[in-house]
Symmetry: C2
Subunit: 163 residues, 2 copies
DNA sequence: CACAAAAGGTTGATGCGTCAACTGCGCCTA
DNA sequence: TAGGCGCAGTTGACGCATCAACCTTTTGTG
């Protein structure tokens, strides 16, 4: 069956090599987190944000900005995390609850963060070196900007929240 | 709350910038695919592989190698795609069925491939340029190798299939 | 004041991904 | 030829992600 020349061959090869890498890295890292510490990548992301917040508490909305999750995904996931005792919802202004990291949640992230960081360091930083990692970060920022711009031009102007 | 210096600041910033970019790009692209053509990123991946196969048919196992999916995920997804008429399973050697792309599946991918490629081109290639994309591909290959190596050293030697 | 609109969040339905357990066929070795 | 092993694939249960609909409190606006 025909293989359309969507890109030049070398470009396409590079892109696919990149895609493969990311898939391998992501599944390997998140499996590691799950196996060794019982946390999913999503759990980890939430806990990192909360544990770095000056007060240890954030609104769901802020977490949403930080993680770029949909609000319903956030709500569902926070509910599950609350059930597991990793976070708690506390009512403050009688409207929007604040999300607090519990002691147990704090323990969990303190337990896994060093190993997680070490893994990323080993797999990415040690492989690429600081210099190329920083180039990667810059490239990432540029692409992110392009995506944001594209998102604004393609989404119907009356659709705010998502899309 | 304390922010442990898992990385140097600039390294961490670069890594996070990269993570953010990828999340934005991935959700934007897959939403585009879903909205405009009714295909998920997973559907697309399967159809690309099948449509590029010389005979238009592959064993589930081969698809698994190409996509790096677990076999059960593959099985579930192929079942769903079959129900939607995008692929078919044909019994050949009375043991393992072959997966064939249907006419409808072929139409679907032909319809969306150009737009998808154009989007990636616009967001990634045009932003980075060929040269940096190729560097990215090389970096990807190196990291992928590191991940593979790590996977072999950390997985219990009696666990074959996955992990 | 009354009504509308918006922002932040929740809910339920549905499809997807993962894990563990199982099936069925072929191969090997005794 | 029988028993065991392993590979390719399926199944079911469960947790996660997404979409659309909804609820509640606040903010205009006539």
């Amino acid at each position: 069956m025909a293989n359309e020349p969507w890109f030049r061959d070398d470009e396409q090869k590079a892109w696919r090599s990149y895609l493969l890498m990311w898939k391998l890295l992501e599944t390997h890292v998140s499996r590691h987190l799950q196996r060794e510490f019982g946390l999913s990548a999503s759990d980890f992301e939430i806990l990192v944000n909360l544990s770095e917040a000056p007060t240890g508490r954030m609104r769901a909305f802020e977490l949403g900005e930080a993680t770029q999750w949909e609000k319903s995904r956030m709500s569902h996931h926070l509910t599950r995390m609350e059930k597991r005792g990793l976070i708690a919802k506390v009512a403050c202004d009688a409207r929007y609850p604040e999300i607090v990291i519990t002691d147990q949640g704090m323990e969990a992230i303190k337990a896994c963060a060093p190993a997680h960081a070490a893994l990323i360091r080993e797999l990415v930083l040690d492989t690429l070196g600081t210099e190329r990692l920083i180039e990667l970060g810059e490239a990432g920022a540029e692409v992110a900007t392009a995506v944001e711009k594209h998102r604004q031009t393609t989404c119907p102007p009356d659709v705010r929240g998502e899309c």
